[in-house]
Subunit: 159 residues, 2 copies
DNA sequence: GGATCATTACTCGGATACGCCGTGTCCGAGTCTCCCGGG
DNA sequence: CCCGGGAGACTCGGACACGGCGTATCCGAGTAATGATCC
């Protein structure tokens, strides 16, 4: 197939960055405004190139859209209410680090096959539970939570 | 207190190694036999020092016991039926890599506090579910599964 | 005035180099065992 | 024959390098807006 061998596994931080980026996009896409990677990076305090790598994954999954050229940037392809955390999780090809690491320990040895099977079963079950949890949350929910909390804190700065 | 600052977070592979080590210990502790770190390392195809680091955590949690000197090694302190995966998870101070990484992304920025709160809530809920799953499995269960599967494969090597 | 086209500025995506964390190797401290000598 | 002591050997735990992966910096390719020019 295609040479997708480059960077098949994402680091855990990518998930948090992806979520924050999408929230930022959801709140500035009201009038089809542009959002270049640098601006997003400023808001999440990271590097522009790293954001581009993450957003490229999201673009490949159809969650965001990348427009090049002058005044280009990233735009949401779907309504924030229809983007669940599970979509993001799958988009960044996030293999659960705990379980993938656990499975790595069963690469060789006399009982590796048996351990691998048992660990795989556990990992599958746990990941299914996790996805079930992630399905229930959408970017729109996160936007509401974060921004309402920010406004409340702004109106009542008594710490 | 004590200088516990050294290596506070465990890598994901430690969990799998810990589980495999405990299974191996459970199956050779029938007559109080000894199990030095080198022997365990051979079985899980890893390094002896790494095993010692992991088993030291388990010893600190009271799951295994380390005896020094000639013919020393590690011994199970509890019955395999009473050791759950959750115990091991906590013993190695395994902070879920996905969630800890996600939380690292909320260290700074204008909305970092709000994101941190939201992410923490999600992480807590997910980790509670995970622990609930891990509580249901014991080392004894894993022993049965692994060794029965190994025997079945041995009796029927028709691959 | 309107359309066409070259210029330009700004973007994304990939290649390369640095830094850090996990891992592998070595060494010292401690202790249990074994053997030998004495009673 | 039984007991005590010393040597020995084997173990664990910690300190010091190596390697791989994630991250940051730089660069080229591409595209959409802009302005000038021509009809």
């Amino acid at each position: 197939m295609s040479m997708e061998k480059n960077q098949v596994a994402a680091t855990p931080r990518w998930f948090g960055f992806a979520l924050q980026s999408l929230v930022f996009l959801a709140n500035s896409t009201c009038p089809e405004s542009r959002c270049p990677s640098g601006e997003i990076a400023d808001h999440v305090c990271s590097e522009a190139t790293l954001m581009r790598r993450i957003l490229a994954r999201l673009a490949r999954a159809g969650i965001v859209e990348a427009r090049e050229g002058r005044d280009g940037g990233y735009y949401l392809s779907k309504a924030p209410e229809t983007i669940t955390f599970a979509d993001v999780y799958r988009a960044v090809q996030m293999t659960e680090p705990l379980f993938s690491g656990m499975l790595e320990t069963t690469s060789e040895g006399p009982l590796s096959a048996e351990f691998n099977l048992a660990f795989q079963e556990l990992a599958d079950e746990a990941e299914a539970h996790l996805l079930q949890l992630l399905e229930k949350r959408t970017i729109a929910d996160l936007c509401d939570i974060v921004y309402s909390a920010a406004e409340a804190r702004k109106e009542d700065p008594a710490n």
